[in-house]
Symmetry: C2
Subunit: 150 residues, 2 copies
């Protein structure tokens, strides 16, 4: 597993994101690491991140999948071109679309693990698939299309 | 426009949702109202609900679309059967899948408006389309498939 989180490689501009910014004290602050050709993030819900009693909120889950996948897209696309995310010539990708399929309720009282991988990479688009697991059980699956911005 | 928000019609069990529960003090607490055959919600972002400077976070947007659309599905399906959401015989629908397409950045410093309508209603599934507007401009569009739970 990589030692430094993808989110900790961004320049200051990219650190205020509510989902994953290291400088957003109100946010979820997820951290994504490379593990071979996948990225992994483990995140601990707060008791108030509820959908209904016992279940993690679906909007929070969508936010986790969005940030983990878009960070994966940025890291992968720039790695493919030999750029670090901290570089001044970094190419930036933002979420173009997000699809989330909820397979079963996700418990709110245990950490969740996200695993993502690049499905397709074109010049202007990176498609990433992502699943969310609770205690090894896949509860949610998703796909993000990240698009390059100038 | 209806006087009472859909979220304020739920029994206590449904009031802890992070996205829209009236009893979740840490949540977004959106309120959805009927306006003819559409539902409308207006919501004010906090300054820290950022994606990057100036732009509303995509995960927050997904959460807004999820809650507004799923509340619309529940209200519409139960209304079609003559049930109030506060009824003991209410049929409950949860998010089965969520699709969000980000058309342009959404400003973080002005209120956003969500408008949703039922696209299709079957016995076990309600499909809802939803758009998010900032100062009248459509910035995001989405679709939620809500599925009935026993």
């Amino acid at each position: 597993m990589s030692k430094k989180a993808i989110q900790d490689q961004w320049t200051e501009y990219g650190t205020m994101c509510w989902g994953c910014g290291r400088n957003n004290e109100h946010g979820l602050q997820i951290k994504s690491y490379w593990d071979g050709d996948e990225t992994v993030a483990t995140w601990h819900p707060q008791p108030y991140h509820l959908a209904f009693p016992g279940a993690l909120n679906g909007g929070i889950i969508a936010a986790l999948i969005d940030c983990h996948s878009t960070n994966t897209a940025n890291a992968a696309a720039n790695k493919a071109e030999g750029h670090e995310l901290s570089s001044e010539i970094v190419r930036t990708y933002v979420t173009g679309s997000l699809f989330v399929k909820y397979l079963k309720p996700t418990p709110v009282d245990t950490p969740v693990t996200l695993r993502a991988r690049v499905k397709e990479m074109k010049d202007q688009k990176v498609t990433v698939t992502c699943s969310l697991y609770s205690e090894g059980v896949e509860c949610v699956t998703g796909e993000v299309v990240a698009v390059r911005v100038k």
